[in-house]
């Protein structure tokens, strides 16, 4: 509890270990997830080393190929998520401004179309337009996952207590100052939740990138299906699952670290020193 009252400087200088353990006890699920994933991954590796693989299986499941495909999946997810952030956050902010509100329903419904079209169809549409390649897959993923970030940005900005903005404006903040200093920081938790959703969607959906020559773990799974190698399918799918859960875990940590102080709600007004 000493930590709660320590000033910034002291907190940095004093044992970070105490801080970390404090953080972990408050966020137990953040410890359980990686432990489970690690166990799952080890089990998978143990399984593979104990099974006699035939030629096709060896070709699909050797470490070089698998690690390349994992990396491709990460790249696809990262690139599409960055694009989503660049598009959806500014758009989401803009759509909450009074002058632009009229078009908000129209924009929201077109963003929903992106998610309503089956992902498969979306990849084919972008293939027809852009041909084969990494960026075709990235754009398809971007369109597919733009809605959660757009919607959460809007909700995040709109849910900011009107009284807080009123107080800020009433004290002489300009509209831009109120946006940057009040609305956005207070919207961060909700926006981050949307980003996390988009990230997980992108990792999962990146398995379809092989359809347009975008690579990724989808190739492992698909070749397993085509060649009737069940083990290959299972290993591919399991790897995607571990990857998605792992990235979600990283996002969960980011979410907690980036949440503004004062919104963390760990302290309650139980102060008795000054009873009013």
């Amino acid at each position: 509890m000493a930590i709660a009252t320590a000033t910034e400087d002291e907190a940095v200088a004093s044992p970070t270990r105490a801080k970390v353990s404090d953080f972990l006890t408050r966020n137990a699920e953040l410890v359980i997830t990686p432990a489970a994933l690690l166990l799952f991954g080890l089990g998978l590796a143990l399984l593979l080393s104990n099974v006699e693989l035939d030629f096709t299986e060896t070709r699909q499941l050797n470490w070089d190929t698998t690690s390349r495909r994992i990396w491709e999946t990460v790249e696809l997810a990262a690139a599409s998520t960055v694009l989503v952030l660049l598009i959806a956050i500014p758009a989401g902010i803009l759509l909450t401004r009074p002058g632009v509100r009229k078009v908000t329903p129209a924009v929201l419904s077109s963003a929903s179309i992106g998610q309503a079209i089956p992902a498969y169809g979306l990849f084919i549409l972008f293939f027809a337009w852009m041909g084969q390649g990494f960026w075709t897959a990235v754009w398809a993923l971007t369109v597919f996952s733009i809605l959660p970030v757009l919607r959460n940005t809007m909700i995040g900005v709109e849910q900011v207590d009107a009284a807080v903005i009123e107080a800020g404006r009433g004290m002489g903040m300009t509209k831009l100052q109120a946006l940057v200093r009040i609305e956005l920081p207070l919207a961060v938790p909700v926006i981050l939740a949307g980003v996390r959703t988009a990230l997980v969607i992108n990792v999962g959906m990146a398995t379809l990138a092989f359809l347009v020559g975008g690579g990724g773990l989808g190739e492992t799974i698909f070749s397993g299906i085509q060649l009737s190698r069940n083990l290959t399918v299972v290993v591919g799918a399991a790897t995607v699952a571990i990857l998605a859960l792992g990235i979600d875990w990283i996002a969960a940590i980011a979410e907690r670290v980036l949440r503004p102080k004062g919104l963390r709600g760990r302290t309650s007004p139980t102060d008795t020193a000054n009873p009013i």
Binding site: V164, M171, K261, T267
Partner: protein, 426 residues
């Protein structure tokens, strides 16, 4: 209730009524005659509406005074307040601020010169208490050292230990603490003017009372010009140097000091609004030291003997005799019955005196004591407890009649054509 004849908006008829009423109220300043805030026929009509939300509002607030805007919900009192710092832009009319027409100046800069407190407080939850209080100093470009010093000074002003609260976050504060920080934040860059929109509205009654008293004490030192909005007439009477009672579309039904509004409501609307408690409220504005006490009451020192006591009581028209102790402090109430029945010493006979009022007590306190007392009277004492006189129901009724008479006389004077320059302080 006598109907005082005075100019009112309702009876004055039509639009011309508004400014007249204001003229009647203004001019009789407690403090300086310098006008800090002035609204000149300010009107607000929202786009798409064919009715004014605020209809030609004209107001003057003298420097260093608290003006309370009070009225039923929906009368536009908050809108009127928000017109002053142009959170709402007026459709027509002028806003004069310390002699300067600010109707069209940059609103953001104007607001940095005006403290603003709202009911929901609106502390920034993601910023520390210190950062919250430093909002306006930082917007105004103060350097860090000056800002930090100011933050600590303000925390002390509102009675919160800087070292304890500086680095906390708003979610660690109770409602009353948060409201104090709200006030400290509004005082950030030492504005001349504060606008307060139901600042104590969301706080429990006991804490509210405490915060009101604290705030009034603070105002004694700070002497800010304050416009205060509330829907609670009791709060208005307590806080206001002057009160503007607003009716529909913020038309001023009466604009005057609390004393005169209570003593002489301008019309039925005001009378309804201040309610049946107005008389009692009026009593709470007068203090015991200011009233004519009844000093003819039968009183004896305890050592005069029973026969003398009997004689005094028999020659008076009262039923009770007040017995004082060695130090002239009121001790016992006795009746002839008491004196006949026992041969106890005077100091032990009868009933103990419980209803006491000191010079600083209000007449309302005195009345409450009186209702609980055996003799139906409150004994006024001086600061050291010595007998001063007796307050009876009649005493209070005389005070109420005097208040009404004075208010009537005031309005009679102002009903005459030449209403300028009347610095009457009743």
């Amino acid at each position: 209730m006598a109907e005082p004849d005075q100019t009112t908006e309702e009876s004055g008829g039509g639009d011309a009524g508004g400014p007249d009423v204001v003229a009647a109220g203004a001019g009789t300043a407690h403090g300086s005659d310098e006008i800090m805030i002035e609204l000149q026929e300010v009107t607000k009509r929202y786009p798409g509406s064919n009715e004014d939300a605020i209809e030609s509002l004209t107001l003057q607030v003298p420097k260093g005074e608290i003006l309370v805007l009070v009225g039923p919900s929906g009368c536009g009192k908050s809108t009127a307040l928000r017109l002053i710092n142009r959170m709402i832009e007026p459709t027509s009319g002028h806003i004069i601020f310390d002699g300067e027409d600010v109707t069209t100046v940059d609103a953001d800069h104007l607001r940095r010169r005006i403290g603003y407190v709202i009911q929901q407080i609106g502390l920034f939850p993601h910023r520390t208490i210190a950062d919250n209080i430093a909002t306006v100093p930082r917007l105004s470009g103060w350097d860090k050292q000056r800002t930090d010093a100011r933050v600590d000074e303000l925390l002390e002003t509102v009675g919160m230990d800087p070292s304890m609260y500086r680095d906390r976050y708003p979610n660690e504060l109770s409602g009353g603490q948060a409201q104090r920080i709200g006030v400290a934040r509004a005082l950030g860059a030492d504005p001349l003017v504060m606008l307060m929109d139901e600042p104590f509205g969301a706080i429990d009654p006991i804490t509210r009372d405490r915060l009101q008293n604290e705030f009034l004490r603070l105002q004694q030192e700070l002497r800010k010009t304050i416009v205060f909005v509330t829907h609670d007439i009791d709060e208005a009477i307590k806080m206001g140097d002057r009160i503007a009672i607003l009716g529909e579309r913020s038309r001023i039904a009466q604009f005057d000091t609390p004393e005169r509004i209570l003593a002489a409501p301008a019309n039925d609307f005001v009378e309804d609004f201040i309610g049946s408690g107005a008389t009692l409220q009026g009593l709470s504005l007068e203090r015991v030291r200011d009233v004519q006490l009844n000093t003819d009451y039968p009183v004896v020192r305890h050592d005069v003997g029973v026969t003398e006591a009997q004689r005094v009581l028999e020659t008076s028209s009262e039923d009770w005799l007040l017995v004082l102790d060695d130090d002239d402090r009121p001790a016992r109430w006795v009746t002839l019955d008491h004196l006949d029945r026992t041969d106890k010493r005077l100091i032990e006979n009868g009933r103990k005196v419980t209803a006491l009022a000191e010079p600083e007590d209000t007449l309302r306190d005195a009345l409450e004591e009186m209702l609980l007392s055996n003799a139906g009277a409150t004994v006024a004492i001086d600061g050291r407890g010595k007998y001063h006189g007796v307050i009876e129901l009649e005493t209070l009724m005389n005070v109420l009649q005097r208040m009404r008479r004075e208010a009537k006389a005031h309005y009679a004077r102002h009903a005459e054509p030449d209403t300028d320059d009347t610095s009457v302080d009743a």
